[in-house]
Point group: C2
Chain length 204, copies 2
């Protein structure tokens, strides 16, 4: 009866749950699967998280924090609009490469409804506000096409998340598309799309 200790195991369960919830959806993943993947019985999982929903909420919060950490670090020292956009997107793509189910879980959070997604977004709120102020400033001084900054942010979000989660569609639409090289190509594509969404209509 090995004892890994409390916090460590708790984190292991959350990470595995994010993988499963991302891959199979909240309803499609069972506590049994998650527990056994961690190498523990279901009842042990229920010792850490009294219900499935409690586990979900812990995952949502953890995902929000992970994302905030990743994006926050990417923003350090970046000044121009383009540097920032590029750095954030690159960091998220790196995260997705190391942990493919992560963006899927984020999307699942959105699918589960506003309440679930709010758990993720709560931690990200300061970053959201910064991003919107930043976009607004860029529009005011003419470096970014004038538009609703919040809607623009939403469009950027769907573009990045879609590119990271719709791999099945990509395989069917584009043809064989696996591995690291493909992810890199999609990152370039997203960057081009973001450039298009940001640049003023008259070009330069």
């Amino acid at each position: 009866m090995p004892r890994t200790g409390g916090e460590e195991r708790r984190i292991a369960i959350i990470e595995e749950a994010i993988r499963r919830f991302g891959r199979d959806g909240y309803a499609g993943a069972s506590l049994e699967q998650i527990a056994s993947a961690v190498g523990v019985r279901k009842q042990t999982l229920l010792y850490y998280f009294p219900t499935k929903e409690a586990l979900l909420e812990a995952c949502l919060a953890a995902a929000g924090e992970q994302l905030a950490r990743t994006i926050g670090k990417a923003l350090e020292g970046r000044e121009t609009y383009w540097e920032r956009a590029e750095a954030v997107i690159h960091s998220v793509f790196q995260l997705a490469e190391a942990w493919p189910e992560f963006p899927m879980f984020i999307r699942e959070a959105g699918r589960l409804g506003p309440d679930a997604f709010a758990h993720v977004a709560g931690v990200l709120e300061p970053l959201r506000q910064r991003a919107i102020d930043f976009l607004q400033a860029g529009m005011d001084n003419g470096e970014i096409r004038k538009q609703d900054p919040a809607l623009l942010l939403f469009t950027l979000y769907t573009g990045v998340v879609g590119s990271l989660t719709e791999a099945s569609v990509l395989n069917v639409v584009v043809g064989a598309d696996k591995g690291r090289a493909s992810l890199k190509r999609r990152e370039r594509e997203v960057l081009a799309f973001v450039r298009g969404a940001l640049q003023p209509p008259t070009g330069e």
Copy 2:
């Protein structure tokens, strides 16, 4: 014991199943719920579709046909690139307004894996080929920014589907956003984004 007759009921079941699969996901929706929403017992549903998976496949095929019909009709008589893009997007947004779960189901199809999505995409293959040829021609004569046409199509797909399915995210990121007016606003936003993705980098 009313008898609605075979084909009519079959279609009613498929439409309700698309709603439920779209809203709750394939795993999250039960045959019981679908059947009772149609006003029929689960065993009657199983008379039409011997297994849940068979019902799913029927839904995938039906969704593909619905989409092909909608897009095909939107393309009639449109000539320029912009007219076509606008018409297709508008038709899809109209479909989504009348049937909000429809785009959610399409996204669920992608989530279920390449095999499931292939059932939808099969019917759409001629349209996909036309779109790619069309984009390629536009790039060749300089009306569209040069890029991989298949990847561009994928990006457009994720933009439209994302805008239609990530309503929860939108509510959190943008704030209250319900009803017809909001959908119209999002359609304009998507159109702007598509324009950005299509236009050559030097403006015009």
